[in-house]
């Protein structure tokens, strides 16, 4: 029996080639966008185009809500579920928060708490539909997605709400050296923490088991319903925080912005690209994060090179399909090798 060395395992990880592609893509973007091919100095590589502080800043700000959602969605996918309503939840959370800020003189931290409590309710509703009513997760969350979206419009009638709470806005807009937003650092921290939880805590391993073979997990004493409850609530809270951080930065609660940006599709695609199988039980956040960076760099590359961003919309779907095809090939290979087990 071959020894499973660290190196061998690393190479087999889906994330390794992704990391390679990410690095290459970033370098290409840097080169093409900095204008050094047109006679600029080498130093322009690090100051113009992709690497210009304005650009990097906006990329990082965009990543904030995506990273938060990534943590939530990855856990959910690994656990064998799915949640297609995160964008709606995020939008609704910002809207409620904005409403409180505008129409009451409540201190914004209190409004924050109320919003998060509401997010917990979203998670509870999702869990209820799946655990008690036995809805398949994707149907339950697709249905709830339109409910959340509709609720957004009910209160704002499609308009945005300006937020003017000073501290809140400062939190959302401070950045280090004009490049690194504080909120992005926060998001990074969360990624690290969640990856830690997944790989270094017993609960994390339990999630893998619940997703990998729910029947075996159940027979070994793992309470699937409880795991699902925790994952859904966790996901909703993260979505809410993500939405709030976004609105802090743009200084308004804009549900339509969140919904039309469709960060959830991007995040789910990233997760699957990064090795988190939608069947559950495999993958990790690091891989998903690298894939997320990849998608965002690609998007930014198009923008910085003045290529139409709709190629990006196309690419998201295309890459997702590619990831799924690769998944299929792997599953087929594994199935053929287990054919003896009858």
């Amino acid at each position: 029996m071959r020894k499973e060395t660290f190196v061998r395992r690393l190479l087999r990880d889906k994330a390794a080639p992704l990391l390679g592609v990410l690095i290459v893509l970033t370098i290409i973007t840097m080169i093409l966008s900095s204008g050094i091919l047109h006679g600029e100095q080498i130093s322009a590589l690090f100051t113009k185009g992709f690497m210009s502080s304005g650009n990097l800043l906006s990329v990082f700000y965009n990543l904030v809500i995506q990273c938060l959602m990534l943590c939530g969605i990855s856990m959910i996918l690994i656990g064998g579920n799915i949640d297609l309503s995160v964008a709606g939840q995020a939008a609704l959370s910002t809207m409620v928060f904005g409403w409180f800020c505008k129409n009451t003189s409540m201190a914004w931290p209190l409004a924050l708490v109320i919003t998060l409590a509401m997010a917990v309710c979203f998670g509870l509703i999702n869990t209820f539909l799946v655990n008690k009513l036995k809805f398949p997760p994707f149907i339950a969350t697709i249905g709830m997605a339109s409910v959340y979206r509709g609720l957004c419009n009910v209160i704002t009638t499609g308009n945005n709400i300006q937020i003017s709470r000073a501290t809140f806005i400062t939190i959302g807009n401070t950045s280090i050296a004009g490049i690194l937003p504080a909120t992005f650092v926060f998001a990074l921290l969360l990624i690290i923490i969640y990856q830690f939880v997944l790989s270094k805590t017993t609960f994390g391993r339990t999630i893998y088991m619940a997703g990998g073979n729910p029947n075996a997990a159940r027979l070994s004493g793992i309470k699937l319903n409880k795991v699902r409850l925790i994952l859904f609530i966790n996901n909703s809270i993260l979505a809410a925080i993500g939405g709030l951080l976004w609105s802090a930065q743009i200084k308004m609660a804009s549900p339509t912005a969140i919904i039309s940006a469709a960060p959830d599709m991007r995040v789910i695609s990233a997760a699957i690209l990064g090795g988190v199988s939608f069947i559950g039980g495999s993958g990790n956040i690091v891989g998903a994060f690298i894939a997320l960076l990849l998608l965002n760099v690609f998007d930014n590359m198009l923008k910085v090179l003045n290529v139409q961003s709709y190629w990006n919309v196309f690419a998201t779907g295309f890459l997702l399909a590619v990831a799924l095809i690769i998944d299929y090939i792997n599953v087929e290979r594994r199935r053929k090798s287990l054919l003896l087990n009858r």
Partner: protein, 338 residues
């Protein structure tokens, strides 16, 4: 075996049929809105209201038919509205930028939609993608390509494409006599597809596949071919919806069919087409759509915030599904991803 009496053969199936209940529901709703608006001093029960309702049905109708056929076979197409919007945009581009006659534009658009449909079928049959994720991926691709088409002739910038085309305006908004052309076409489609599903041999095969895909193939029914046909059908019908939308608006819109995304599926399920497949027909889907739209318009007449209506639609979908699941209580091919 004795001959079934007239009652058993004709009347009882009708009553037991879900459609009957739905028609009752529809009538109840109409009565409710009539009374409600009367109390407010308005008038719900008039010809223009019903004309409005029927008109609003047209675009969603095609989506509903396509979704319904697929659902009966146990599959789902979440890319339908994106493909449709793409088709509508192709038409606009063809007419405006390429100067093609309107009928050619429609043909090209629908052919491209069919191509998308066969890709969907390929992913679902050969690569065993769960339909919902595969079509979700295709939706992104279709949308991306739609933006691409909208940028043709516009220096690469995606934008709505407006044009002036008399035949298309007629298709979109014209009438034959007192009845709008769209409504006529829609009703014809419903009738034709209704006959196909309930009376043709193709329809029977579709229903059997949806009811039990394993048994159907062990009985010699070619599931793969039928799946291809249904996905292409869904895509082309989406394209027709997109074309209608473009014709009606006089422009290829980037946001086309966004609001109708789940209307098709909701209406089909409301109308008794089981999510697990194997049951239901076009008649039910039509009534389901009718109920949905009457609900929306009725709410508008009595002055309820239209956005609440959207919320209710989502809730309605979940309720309809809950009832469906309780009635079915088994997992089918669409649901087999989990």
């Amino acid at each position: 075996m004795k001959k079934d009496s007239f009652y058993i053969k004709h009347i009882r199936p009708l009553i037991k049929h879900k459609v009957f209940t739905l028609i009752l529901l529809f009538i109840a709703m109409v009565i409710m809105f009539t009374l409600w608006s009367a109390i407010q001093g308005g008038r719900f029960f008039k010809i223009s209201t019903f004309k409005n309702i029927l008109n609003s049905l047209v675009i969603s109708a095609f989506l509903t038919i396509g979704a319904g056929c697929l659902l009966i076979s146990g599959n789902i197409d979440l890319a339908q509205s994106a493909i449709g919007a793409f088709g509508g945009m192709v038409l606009a581009t063809a007419v405006k930028s390429w100067g093609l006659p309107w009928y050619l534009g429609i043909v090209i658009g629908l052919v491209l939609c069919a191509a998308f449909g066969s890709l969907n079928a390929l992913l679902v049959t050969k690569f065993r993608f769960p339909a919902f994720i595969g079509t979700l991926a295709m939706a992104s691709m279709a949308r991306g390509l739609m933006y691409l088409f909208s940028s043709i002739g516009n220096k690469g910038l995606a934008a709505n494409i407006a044009f002036n085309n008399a035949p298309l305006s007629f298709i979109g908004a014209g009438s034959i006599g007192p009845i709008p052309l769209g409504i006529i076409i829609m009703l014809v489609f419903f009738i034709i597809y209704g006959i196909i599903i309930s009376k043709s041999r193709f329809g029977l095969k579709v229903t059997l596949i949806g009811g039990n895909p394993v048994a159907a193939s062990l009985a010699g029914i070619n599931s793969t071919a039928i799946t291809y046909i249904l996905f292409i059908n869904s895509a082309v019908l989406g394209g027709i919806a997109g074309v209608f939308n473009t014709a009606r608006l006089g422009q290829g819109a980037l946001l086309a069919l966004q609001t109708n995304q789940f209307t098709g599926i909701t209406a089909a399920i409301l109308g008794g087409i089981s999510f697990g497949g194997g049951a239901g027909g076009m008649g039910g889907a039509f009534i389901g759509l009718l109920i949905l739209n009457t609900f929306q318009i009725g709410m508008g007449v009595v002055g309820v915030n239209p956005f609440w209506v959207n919320v209710f639609s989502g809730v309605l979908l979940l309720v309809a599904l809950a009832f469906d699941f309780i009635a079915q209580r088994r997992s089918r091919s669409v649901l087999k991803a989990y």
